[in-house]
């Protein structure tokens, strides 16, 4: 998996920038220019959308639809960005999402929510997500189990637990206060899009402006150096997986709001989409570099792609072939655009 770092190693040595004057540009050449490539990919996609879909694509409503669709995956991608930045991975986000929606919509939770308000359901989803994340974190950090395997185990187990709790039924949410709080629009924008925006902003500050974020990057860049600098690496790893679980919990609340139902099938196979969005966004799978903005653009690319496909009424098999090709093309495009900046 440290593929990325490696294949960049021999092929394109780590960017080095000249000393004096070009400093400003050199700074820019980091995240910003890498994101530029992505933005170009997204714009190209939008152009295709506009050319083929016209008004149906380029409308405010459609923008809202794309954003709403991006929201649930988007929120989880923010947590995943932290995990991947440490050099880890979390395959369990999809099934834990299912588990949170199920747990937060059981009869008893809904009954309590009927009495004490929507906060009960929200707390339930957040706590379940957080707990699952912490369990992942403990097994990975203190049990020394590879993240891939530990979270794969959680994937399987959480799905089973969700099925057990839901008894394989779809649980319809019937708590007016919850629906009132999370469904519908606020200032013309769906509430879940607001939540997404809030999580993005919080995630950006957490990664870029706090010691937590700094530690996350340091651990991903060089865990041994981080440990010898006095960072409690294991405890931090646990927190990072906990954080990812928390964002899954938030995603669960949004999912409940959006679909109005809790089901163990929620979030099925979503993990690969989440990881793909983060990695296409420019966060290194090998750890040590994470970008929230990149992740958001990555999520938007995938959401827009689906939208363009459906607007064009594409056959689903053809959609898949095109999707595969476009993923590769987007990554290649991003590389080509970012590459010259290295030499600037």
């Amino acid at each position: 998996m440290s593929e990325q770092v490696k294949s960049q190693g021999p092929a394109a040595p780590a960017p080095r920038t000249p000393a004096g004057g070009a400093r400003g540009l050199a700074r820019l050449s980091g995240t910003t220019v890498r994101n530029l490539g992505l933005v170009v990919a997204l714009l190209l996609l939008c152009l295709v959308g506009f050319l083929t879909g016209g008004e149906r694509f380029a409308s405010l409503t459609n923008l809202t639809i794309i954003l709403s669709l991006a929201s649930v995956i988007g929120v989880m991608s923010i947590g995943m960005t932290f995990v991947i930045t440490t050099g880890g991975i979390d395959l369990s986000v999809g099934s834990v999402l299912g588990l949170t929606t199920v747990w937060a919509s059981t009869l008893s939770t809904q009954t309590m929510a009927g009495q004490y308000g929507w906060i009960v359901m929200v707390m339930c989803a957040l706590l379940v997500g957080l707990a699952a994340g912490l369990v992942n974190g403990v097994i990975i950090a203190f049990g020394n189990v590879v993240a891939f395997i530990a979270t794969l185990a959680m994937l399987v187990a959480a799905r089973g637990l969700a099925e057990l709790i839901a008894n394989r039924r779809t649980q319809i949410v019937d708590v007016p206060s919850f629906e009132g709080a999370f469904q519908g629009d606020l200032l013309g924008v769906p509430k879940i899009v607001w939540i997404f925006a809030l999580v993005v902003v919080a995630g950006w500050f957490l990664l870029n402006r706090t010691t937590f974020g700094r530690r996350t990057v340091a651990i991903g860049g060089n865990p041994e150096a981080a440990r010898l600098a006095g960072i409690k690496v294991k405890r931090h790893m646990m927190y990072v997986y906990g954080l990812a679980g928390l964002t899954v919990g938030i995603g669960g609340v949004m999912m409940l709001a959006r679909t109005g139902a809790g089901s163990s099938t929620n979030g099925m196979l979503i993990e690969l989409d989440v990881i793909a969005a983060v990695v296409v966004g420019g966060t290194l799978l090998a750890g040590g570099r994470g970008t929230i903005i990149g992740t958001v653009i990555g999520v938007l690319i995938f959401a827009t792609l689906q939208n363009v496909f459906i607007i064009n009424n594409l056959d689903s098999s053809v959609q898949q072939i095109a999707k595969g090709a476009i993923i590769v093309a987007a990554v290649l495009l991003q590389q080509r655009i970012s590459a010259p900046s290295r030499s600037s």
């Binding site: 400093r23 402006r209 990057v217």
Partner: protein
């Protein structure tokens, strides 16, 4: 001083230019090497030595310039081409594969095979012969290289160069991870090789080594050859340093002001043991004192430092700082109490290479820089820049990725980390490994300044002169035990060597 070319050069590199995206590493380097000579390549960190030899090895393609072998122009398009021309290279960054065995590493890329199947018996036999020749029969062909020490890996790397039928062998700082005994061994092999007419290109920052085995010297500075074919025997050290650095550097250790008798004990280690590595180590370092740990590679000095620091959990014994006993096995506890460590392997243990300099400097000081977990980048950069300026970090820009700094400057950044943190005890493991002469003197001066300001310093170094020159007091470690302790000026290099018995590098 300059020897005229008497014999026809075996290898000639002319006007070599190498541009990297964003950096000009070489800007016209010339080098001629005669058969059977040891040709030394000198230059500061970042002068372009490694880049030059990578061009020669086919690992980099030059932007311009010609390479001649026996007067004939050749093109070295890839590493295989270099090997086919008889140019073998021991790279500066250890280039072995941990997961493969000694024999497999040596024959990697030119495996003895029939129809793709490796001939394990033949390979093993040849490997044994090579190891015998290198004086290390104890390193068996089937040993996994990951289990060898850095010195052992260096020997494997050497064996690999020998396994190729080479006319020119390039050695990029081979002695950096070797102790004096091993260096002697290396030089014995070098002598053997040159006697057969094989040319050696030798890179090192240790001038005394150059004096011992070198024939001629080429000095490069900022990617340009500033002087060629200097005679080793007749060129004064001061001239060499001037050529390399462009200025005169006092190549001497700072004065020892002497620790006042009433200075309080800062660090006290008593009865510290780590099962299987070292045993019952006791030492104390007073405020303002520099204590050196001398010993052979593999004698367990790094482990002593790491155990004091909490990076390894001691099996018994205590570490006290200013009278407070530290919790064993807790790095964050040690850092919080005021201990800092500049580890042996800067790149793998000390630095987050892709992060900017300032973030590497402040990595241990969040407690004092951040408010409730919130970082003020401006204040953070200012704090880092202040220390960078105090240490004369070059370039002084703290926003660069630390990867782009030279080895000496990376080491200064490590020290800056602990200056920002304001630690009371500083543990230094091989503080000048791979650092050029100019930067070395600066680091020595800096360490002494720190001590003068009241920091207790514990230094490990494999260069015995360095320990003796820098420290106030020296402990000699052999086989995981302190065998002698005394003021640095009462011990000679010879004494130290006598005390540490011949050990194995494996």
């Amino acid at each position: 001083m300059v020897i005229e070319d008497q014999a026809a050069p075996l290898l000639q590199m002319q006007g070599i230019v190498k541009h990297f995206p964003g950096a000009k590493a070489l800007d016209g380097v010339d080098l001629d090497v005669l058969p059977g000579e040891v040709h030394c390549l000198l230059g500061q960190n970042g002068a372009g030595k490694s880049t030059l030899i990578k061009v020669l090895a086919g690992a980099h393609q030059p932007t311009a310039g010609t390479i001649r072998l026996h007067g004939e122009e050749i093109r070295i398009a890839h590493p295989v081409a270099a090997l086919e021309h008889g140019i073998a290279t021991m790279y500066q960054e250890l280039d072995v594969v941990d997961g493969l065995t000694v024999a497999e590493n040596i024959y990697l890329g030119h495996e003895l095979a029939s129809a793709g199947f490796t001939q394990r018996r033949a390979v093993a036999a040849r490997t044994r012969a090579l190891m015998q020749r290198l004086g290390h029969p104890e390193i068996g062909p089937h040993r996994e290289v990951g289990t060898l020490s850095a010195a052992g890996k260096q020997i494997v790397s050497m064996a690999r160069a020998l396994s190729r039928d080479a006319r020119v062998i390039v050695m990029d700082e081979p002695s950096a991870v070797l102790d004096s005994g091993e260096v002697d061994n290396l030089f014995r092999v070098v002598d053997e090789l040159t006697a057969q007419g094989i040319a050696i290109i030798y890179i090192s920052h240790r001038l005394e080594e150059i004096r011992r085995i070198g024939d001629r010297i080429t000095v490069i500075k900022d990617g340009v050859t500033v002087s060629r074919n200097l005679d080793v025997a007749t060129t004064p050290t001061a001239d060499l340093i001037k050529l390399m650095t462009g200025k005169s550097v006092e190549h001497a250790f700072p004065d020892r002001p002497g620790v006042p008798g009433d200075a309080e004990t800062r660090l006290e280690v008593s009865g510290l043991s780590l099962a299987g590595v070292f045993h019952d180590v006791s030492l104390r370092v007073r405020a303002g004192e520099i204590v050196g740990l001398a010993g052979l590679v593999g004698s367990g000095r790094s482990e002593i430092l790491e155990t004091i620091y909490g990076a390894r959990r001691s099996s018994s014994g205590t570490v006290t700082l200013d009278g407070v006993t530290l919790r064993p096995g807790s790095v964050s506890g040690a850092v919080g109490a005021g201990i800092g460590l500049a580890p042996e392997e800067r790149k793998s243990q000390g630095l987050v290479l892709d992060e900017p300099v300032y973030r590497n400097i402040t990595l241990s000081s969040f407690a004092r820089i951040a408010r409730a977990g919130w970082l003020d980048e401006t204040a953070e950069k200012a704090a880092a820049a202040e220390q960078a300026a105090a240490l004369d970090l070059r370039p002084p820009d703290v926003n660069r990725a630390i990867r782009t700094l030279s080895g000496g400057n990376q080491q200064k950044a490590m020290l800056a980390r602990w200056l920002v943190h304001g630690c009371k005890v500083l543990l230094l493991d091989e503080p000048t490994r791979g650092v050029d002469v100019g930067a070395r003197s600066e680091i020595y001066a800096l360490v002494r300044r720190l001590a003068d300001a009241g920091t207790a310093v514990l230094v490990v170094s494999s260069e015995i002169p360095e320990v003796l020159g820098l420290a106030d007091r020296v402990l000699v470690v052999s086989d995981g035990q302190v065998v002698r302790e005394g003021p640095a000026d009462s011990i000679s290099e010879h004494d130290v060597l006598d005390m540490v018995m011949e050990g194995s590098v494996a």
